[in-house]
């Protein structure tokens, strides 16, 4: 049974056992607009919670991807190389990287879907 968590920098992580996929939230893809490039790490790279592991770019700007959790990259979503707009079409189905979690306790500091929804509403109000 998988569960999805969200970070304050609008990445999500969907966890199934010690495996997880990371992408950007619907709020993030809407704020960015049409995605024209996704800069992804390589398989085998280590990512560290709180540090950037790539970027998602719209025509206008590059937005860093911040790792919500730490782990080792086991797969990158190659479909995004030629068709980065898939992130706009369905950001939850089109995750960016798949990792093996190195410290599942890091999930405790993330938000669940309800808390994230409330967080986005407060962001949008600014």
């Amino acid at each position: 049974m998988s569960k999805t968590y969200f970070s304050k920098t609008h990445e999500y992580v969907t966890v199934d056992g010690d495996s997880a996929v990371i992408g950007i939230s619907d709020f993030a893809q809407k704020a960015l607009g049409n995605v024209v490039y996704v800069d992804m790490p390589e398989e085998g790279d280590e990512i560290t919670a709180g540090e950037d592991f790539g970027a998602v770019e719209s025509v206008k700007a590059a937005s860093d991807l911040i790792a919500p959790v730490s782990g080792e990259v086991v797969e990158t979503n190659e479909a995004l190389v030629d068709n980065p707009r898939l992130v706009n079409d369905d950001c939850m189905a089109n995750w960016i990287i798949k990792i093996t979690l190195s410290d599942p306790s890091e999930l405790d500091s993330l938000m669940d879907e309800d808390a994230y929804k409330a967080f986005c509403e407060s962001e949008a109000a600014h």
Partner: protein, 368 residues
């Protein structure tokens, strides 16, 4: 703290749901429907931009022609009235104070259109340079608003939606005319997109009236500053702050066509440019193209092909919209400035190979 300025069309932008952001001290629309859609509207049909943030200065008096020629790199002497010149104002050391358009209304009367970000600096500079000249320098920034109507269908829109007769207007000329209801305006065949098009200057209330007529027609797409930048970039037009700056000369920026080093009387900065030209330029503005999809952006480093030495900086870069490539303009050391030269660009943690190209990534479609 300085308060942010708003153009006369600000409520219209907000009502259209535009994404607004501060630009050069003004709260401006960045996009309405989306940068890509707006960009394509200008390339294929007609887009309308609120460019009321641009500054307008009227220079008049018996020395007006002499004075403008003294502070301006292009040569306006003896030109026919109704003609427009593009050029720069320079510091004595050759760096660029601003790039601007000069509209010749008469021998003693010139309208100077300057960048919003430089309004205060430019007007101060003009006053400093005016000593000994019999000229009057009037700041019209608050009295004039401006729209740009751009794209292959711009002439049709001007004629048939607005009733402004302009089909006979040649590229880089203007006329002072009126709407069918008598409202006065100045219209020029100019723009900043690489497409045919017009710019309209008028009192703010008239500009609002024109905007409303255009929007009601359904024939135009409202366009924000986001696509204004992608459009001008693809045809290699410079933006002050990116390709031109107080420490970048127009020769380095590849604009010698607008610098008349030999005009009688010279101009401020002329000697510095002539010396620089004689010695050979240290750096030049070039185009670069990446094979990868990664996007070079303003401020990123340009390196030798082996990635060890910094040889320049990206001034503007995008994933092109009309040109589906990752492209940039960059200021690089002259020894790497020839088309075909291999260089590299640092994008975050990685270095990507790139090739020097022409800055004209996309062909202009002016109607001359």
């Amino acid at each position: 703290m300085e308060t942010i300025k708003k153009t006369c069309l600000h409520p219209r932008h907000v009502a259209l749901g535009a994404q607004m952001a501060p630009f050069a001290g003004f709260d401006m629309p960045i996009q309405y429907s989306g940068i890509t859609e707006e960009h394509n509207a200008v390339r294929n049909s007609c887009g309308v931009f609120d460019v009321s943030h641009m500054g307008e200065v009227l220079v008049s008096g018996s020395d007006a022609e002499k004075f403008v020629n003294h502070i301006f790199t292009n040569d306006i002497a003896g030109a026919p009235d109704g003609k427009i010149f593009y050029g720069m104002m320079l510091h004595p050391h050759g760096g660029t104070v601003d790039d601007l358009l000069v509209y010749r209304r008469g021998e003693n009367n010139f309208l100077l259109v300057i960048n919003a970000a430089n309004i205060d600096k430019d007007i101060r500079w003009m006053h400093e340079c005016a000593e000994g000249f019999n000229v009057k320098i009037d700041d019209l920034c608050d009295e004039l608003a401006e729209l740009a109507v751009q794209g292959p269908l711009a002439e049709d829109v001007m004629e048939n939606v607005l009733g402004i007769h302009c089909a006979d207007l040649a590229f880089y000329t203007f006329k002072e005319t009126a709407l069918p209801d008598g409202s006065a305006l100045l219209v020029s065949r100019t723009g900043y997109t690489g497409e045919d098009g017009f710019e309209i200057y008028a009192r703010p209330d008239i500009i609002v009236e024109i905007w409303d007529t255009l929007m009601a027609s359904g024939k135009v797409t409202p366009c924000g500053l986001g696509c204004r930048d992608t459009l001008r970039f693809e045809v290699g037009l410079p933006l002050y702050g990116d390709e031109l700056a107080d420490d970048i000369t127009p020769l380095e920026a590849g604009l010698p066509l607008f610098v008349k080093l030999d005009k009688p009387g010279g101009f401020i900065g002329r000697d510095a440019l002539a010396a620089m030209k004689a010695q050979g330029l240290r750096r030049r503005l070039v185009g670069i193209e990446l094979a990868d999809r990664a996007i070079p952006r303003h401020g990123y480093e340009v390196l030798t092909p082996d990635g060890t030495t910094v040889i320049g900086t990206v001034t503007t870069g995008y994933r092109g919209i009309s040109v589906d490539k990752s492209i940039a303009m960059a200021l690089v050391s002259t020894e790497y400035a020839d088309a075909g030269t291999q260089v590299a660009v640092r994008i975050r943690k990685k270095t990507f190979p790139a090739t020097v190209t022409s800055r004209k990534f996309y062909k202009k479609s002016y109607k001359k």
